[in-house]
């Protein structure tokens, strides 16, 4: 214990409560409240209603939720395969090449998302690679942006893996493919699930690259939240944001449970 006297501890806790309340609690609480607000002209809303939710669900929200979930799932699945593949095959490289390639796989996370979108527009707007205006270009943008996170998570998992299991498997005569499928990948599973969950969450909230490339028929949740608030319909925007937050949290908690059960924790 750093601070022994009770009064000074209470002062510090009050400081914490103030910072936490203003910075983290208030925004979440206020989004929830405004998504349920009937009329809001004073300090507090005059009444509560679920009207905004029924409005957005009967409107464009259903399609936006679907677009976000499909994009998130496909981009995360592709990023998981490619990131795991890259992390596993990097172990077979020499030291210098491994460091260089490892750095290159991380670079997409450092480039601003708007520029990733711009690059895709410039590269894939002409035949033979004409993807501009298709759903695929949205998936590609999301895949590029989250691929570094998946690669990083899986690499971190591999680094923590004890090499003993794989060595024992090899010395017992397990072929590389068998060893990969029955030893390495099961041991990596918790990291794979965590990587998938994080990239799914990132994809659900992605805005910068999506606004650059999305076709009219494939409006994701963040884009439709932006167009609602830009039109001045901030209550509907808040309701849709709550739907996005709920979907993200359910997804993350669900995947966490699966991991916990799988590892017996």
């Amino acid at each position: 214990m750093l601070v022994w006297s009770r009064p000074s501890r209470i002062v510090l806790w009050l400081l914490f409560a103030l910072l936490f309340g203003v910075l983290f609690l208030a925004p979440l609480a206020v989004i929830l409240l405004s998504s349920l607000a009937d009329q809001w002209n004073g300090v507090l809303p005059s009444g509560l209603t679920t009207e905004h939710y029924t409005d957005v669900i009967s409107g464009s929200a259903g399609r936006a939720v679907k677009a976000s979930l499909v994009t998130g799932f496909l981009a995360s699945a592709l990023a998981l395969v490619s990131g795991t593949w890259a992390a596993l095959s990097l172990r077979l490289q020499g030291h210098a090449l491994r460091r260089l390639l490892g750095l290159l796989f991380f670079i997409p996370s450092a480039v601003p998302s708007v520029s990733v979108g711009l690059g895709l527009l410039v590269a894939f707007s002409h035949p033979p690679l004409l993807l501009n205006g298709t759903v695929a270009i949205v998936m590609i943008a999301h895949f590029v942006l989250i691929s570094a996170f998946t690669f990083g998570n899986v690499s971190a998992g591999l680094a923590r893996l004890s090499p003993d299991f794989e060595q024992v498997a090899s010395s017992l005569g397990a072929r590389p493919a068998y060893r990969l499928w029955h030893v390495t990948l099961p041991l990596l599973a918790p990291y794979l699930v965590a990587a998938f969950g994080l990239s799914f969450a990132l994809s659900m909230g992605e805005l910068g690259a999506t606004v650059m490339v999305y076709p009219p028929g494939w409006v994701t949740l963040p884009v439709s939240i932006f167009s609602l608030t830009d039109r001045g319909d901030i209550f509907a925007g808040a309701a849709l944001t709550m739907i996005l937050v709920a979907a993200t949290l359910v997804l993350l908690l669900g995947l966490e449970r699966i991991t916990a059960r799988a590892t017996g924790a």
Partner: protein, 285 residues
Amino acid sequence: MAEAVALCAPAIRREPGKFWIVPPAALLALLFFYPLALIARQAFLDDSGVANAAEIIRVLHSRFFLNALINTVTISVTATAGCLIVGLVLALILAFVPFPGSGFIARLIDTFIALPTFLVTLAFTFLYGSAGMLNSGLMEAFSLPLPPVDFLYSTWGVVLAEVTVYTPFILRPLLAAFSLVDRGQIEAASVHGARPFRIVRQVILPAAIPALIAGGSLCLLLTVNEFGIVLFIGAKGVITLPLLIYGKAIQESAYQVACVIAVVNIALSLGLFGLYRFAAGRLGV
């Protein structure tokens, strides 16, 4: 051709695993590095495909570009300083003056990493906007004719939103670093009469410096690249580089201008990424 195959074959047999890296690397090259190279190419060529440096010089000297650059750097540096201060205070209390439920609170703050950044801006509209809770409250309490609080649609609004969004990125490595600090050392120092400030300065801060440097450079990178917060605040005077790229490319269809700005933005980001990797690698975070 046959000769080349014959020459290659033994090498393949000797190290069969070497080539497994090719598929993911090729995918990344096609979908990421190739478009990135085209941005650079387009920045130097005009619409007819002729090399044209005049346009680059015009953009780099233009007022809109310089304003955006200054805004981006100011917001990024201020927000990072804010994140470091708030993160350090929160982490010190969470780690060394814990209270019931502090573990849960730390995890709650951590989930902010997974939430979309524009959520905070939208919430700030309701809290601090001209018709928001704070202004309505103050106007009612003091019967003011006009909303007194007016920082949201300025750089300060963006900075406060970014502090909220990016403090968790400082908190996470700091809490990890603090969990390694020897509690016995702190007890001993405090038994010998050292004041808490002195313990923080001489025992805890040295242990936190690697985490602060790595977290701070990550914050610089993320705030330079931030788009959602600035877009949602939508203030005319607060244009950053990513927002300018979006405006030029999508709203004005001026692709060459957008590419020139993107080259500057990407160079800035990669420089900060290098700083982060250097700090993180050097300090072992």
